[in-house]
Amino acid sequence: MIETLAREFRAVAPAVDFCALRFMEETSEILTVRQDVPEPPQLATDRGAMVTVIDKGGLGYAATSDLTPAGLREAAMRAKRLAALTAGRAVTDYGRIAMPRPAGRFATAVADDPARLTRREKVELLAAEARQCRIDPRIVDWEANLWTTRTRAAYVTADGGEVEQEFHFLVPNMSATAHADGITQTRTHGGRGNGFCRQGGLEVLDAFGLAGSGRAVAEGALELLAAPNCPTGKMDVLLMPDQMMLQIHESIGHPLELDRILGDERNFAGTSFVTLDMFGTYRYGSELLDVTFDPARPGEYASYGWDDDGLAAERQFLIRRGILERPLGGAVSQARAGIAGVANTRSCAWNRPPIDRMANLNIEPGASSLEELVAGIEHGVMMRTNVSWSIDDSRNKFQFGCEWGRMIRGGRLAEVVRNPNYRGISATFWRSLTGVGDAATVEVLGTPFCGKGEPNQAIRVGHASPACRFAGVEVFGGAA
């Protein structure tokens, strides 16, 4: 199909300075068992293509779900007209940007084909685990989900570039909610926002730890119900990977997006406290902080071979030993800013234009075991599993909350606490990083729902992180 589409596109591509077609087809299935009742399966196929035209310095995009030659021609004409309308009135002379002409193929490595199990078998797998949540009448709601997606994508330039990519995504989740005496607490396995999300096949379920997760979340919710509120005060925090992924995402990932720094997002997602002059010199965090853009990590949620402008993806350090080195900016943003970036121009679907996104953004492991991280805290709290996130439009003043906390006193783990929250300022928070967990503490997570862009786009990103320790953080709990 791709060969035919490429041939038909090239046959109708208009005579312009640059023209490309980006095709995407996603087939997905969502299975849910709630309170032991299987919900109707949700099946979907989303298929279409976007034509990009650059001509006389202008840029236009047009999306269509009509993939016939007539449909492609009509879309190309719409894109050409928009390019003409913007020529000489755009933020940059797009004609001066050298657009890649890529060639190659990328595919997710799948060890255990999801098709090995029938839909009924998958539902039974979820139902069996969900039944384990029913351990106490105070468990008032519980749910197991499995979301699988296969994506086929192609990027074709009129002058010969051609890339094909195939992705397999798998997102399992388990949650239980307990309620008593006016208190409601939820514990999840996989996170509130599907933080456990991977590329791969059924082997991802093993990595997820589906077996036993039902009982674990139910017990966790009851444990939180009985726990005291997290205390208020300045103390050390030990953030586990399922909170670190959010901390990285909001206070490193978004501020380093080059389109934000260039001002594109100021009407919606916001600007950044980071400015172009900071790259190469700015101390973003302590010496312990190493951050990479790594689209090549097998199985991580946003791994790929080329971005949606056809730029080949490769691992790069963004922050090394605490010093800011490189932004998250693709070919267009790099040309506009005059600074080297990474291959991260991405779109969430065929009907949205590509913009600078995070992809896989990871913290490199350090040298401390989890026991050593705990032992280094005299008074503090360990936090797991993000539940609340809020940060200002410059990505500086943040406030985050977690499902589960556990006090640490005298270097030892103590009681569990509920509603743990903390707040800080990105520009100083990362400098208070005093310990980075070793490879044994790393978890590979992410989110399917990173929101940004106008028109809005929710895109997949990956975050691998070890446990990390921060000193002197403002911590507080919930209402009494």
Binding site: P38, P40, Y61, R89, G263, P353, P455, A479
Partner: protein, 440 residues
């Protein structure tokens, strides 16, 4: 598009076999999206898309499948026929659904709101002309939105809405900006110019030195745009029957009588006066008004068909997420022209940003001030404020600390364009608060 929908709906109905009910939901748009930055065009995009969701119900079982349509009658018929074959395979393998509820009594509706949405060229010319010499960043989204429902029992529902939404900021420096929006179904150059002029006037105020506030309590006025964020948080699981019955609603303190809002707070799902369709995706026609908060106390819940069956109540045409689409907060008594005078000394919050729950069970919210927010003294705007984080309970904002709601309200189109443009809206007054807790 309408003919295409009715043609395909009839075709799908003809495919229904004995004992089968087939329901269809159709959503389509022809949209222009134009982004601006620094008074120039960043991206201009044209999107034409149509999506059909097919639901097959047989023997108490249900399966759904959605797919994009090409727009070609023959190709789309073939695709829907193939989808139905897939669903027939799937439904045989699906377990019986005890919470299955579908529209069994056909109610046909039709609504067409044909407007005068501008061509992309008009928008680009107008925005660049207005932004000349200024730092304008913004986004225009406009064009027709189509939605339809059909089932094999003969029900047909159709809606077309032509509208546009242009939201833009005029930046002074860094994070200091005035945000303005212009939305409707008919672009009027004079109306756009008037709004731009108002934004320019406010921009001048941002040139004054900013005031850095210390954490603490302040008198505050929340504009309707800021109230959209506050009320939007209540919509996040607050009004749904499922979230209330499973004790996950942030309004549980209302439900069990531990707290209440001010008696002047009445919130309704006002479908009769909103832009969203009068039918939901499964074909249930919505009542004109459902009171969610009645004089400060919890009113009716939004009940989707599935929740209604599960909990044994009647559905009121709520969507599956049980989220309002035409929310209406009752107006108060304070004339808009007297807001600054009534505020006297405190903060005028033009916009809030990135709200979340800091304690969901207590309906405690956190978020940031953003854009044109000012320090007011002696009933006059004195200077912009640096952005501040608030952390406060909705039971204080809409309850104990609520001094007044404005007499005038704004109809705010929900500008969200995730996946597709939508027709959700809120009609909101501004709110004067005796005390608003800033924390960072």
């Amino acid at each position: 598009m309408k003919e295409h929908f009715f043609d395909l709906a009839g075709y799908v109905q003809s495919l229904a076999g004995a004992g089968e009910v087939i329901a269809s939901h159709f959503a389509a748009e022809e949209s222009d999206f134009i982004r601006f930055n620094r008074s120039a065009v960043r991206q201009a995009t044209s999107v034409r898309q149509a999506r059909w969701t097919l639901t097959l119900i047989r023997d108490g079982r249900r399966v759904d499948a959605a797919a994009t349509l090409s727009g070609s009658p023959a190709a789309d018929r073939d695709q829907l026929k193939a989808m139905l074959a897939l669903l027939r395979d799937a439904v045989a393998d699906a377990p019986a659904d005890p919470y299955l509820l579908y529209a069994e009594s056909p109610v046909n509706t039709a609504r067409e709101s044909v407007g005068a949405v501008p061509d992309a060229a008009v928008v680009i010319d107008a925005a660049l002309e207005a932004g000349r010499g200024l730092d304008l960043v913004g986004h225009y989204a406009g064009g027709p939105i189509h939605e339809g429902f059909a089932n094999s029992l003969g029900q047909r529902n159709w809606q077309r809405v032509d509208n546009f939404s242009f939201e833009w900021c005029l930046y002074h420096d860094r994070d200091k900006a005035v945000k303005t929006s212009y939305s409707g179904s008919r672009w009027e150059a004079d109306d756009f110019a008037r709004r731009m002029g108002f934004a320019r006037d406010q921009l001048a105020l941002l040139g004054r030195p900013a005031r850095a506030l210390s954490p603490g309590g302040y008198r505050a006025y929340l504009s309707p745009a800021a109230m959209e964020d506050v009320v939007g948080m209540l919509c996040w699981g607050g009004f749904g029957l499922k979230s209330q019955r499973t004790k996950q609603s942030p309004l549980m303190r209302l439900a069990d009588g531990r707290d209440r809002f001010d008696p002047r707070v009445t919130i309704a799902e006002n479908t009769a006066e909103g832009l969203a369709a009068g039918f939901q995706r499964e074909g249930f026609v919505r009542p004109g008004r459902v009171e969610l908060i009645r004089a400060g106390a919890l009113g009716d819940a939004l009940a989707s068909p599935r929740s209604a069956k599960e909990y044994g109540v009647a559905t009121n045409g709520a969507n599956a997420e049980e989220v309002p689409e035409s929310l209406d907060l009752a107006a108060g008594e304070l004339p808009g022209a007297q807001v600054l005078q009534a505020l006297d000394r405190g903060i005028y919050v033009g916009n809030l940003w990135y709200l979340n729950f800091s304690d969901r069970a207590a309906c405690r919210l956190t978020g940031m001030t953003r854009f044109a927010s000012f320090w007011v003294e002696g009933g006059e705007i004195r200077q912009p404020i640096d952005v501040m984080r608030f952390d406060d309970s909705a039971f204080r904002i809409l309850g104990s600390q609520l001094e007044a709601l404005t007499r005038e309200r704004e109809l705010i189109l929900q500008g969200g364009t995730y996946g597709a443009r939508n027709t959700a809206s809120m009609r909101l007054p501004g709110a004067l608060l005796r005390d608003f807790a800033l924390v960072l």
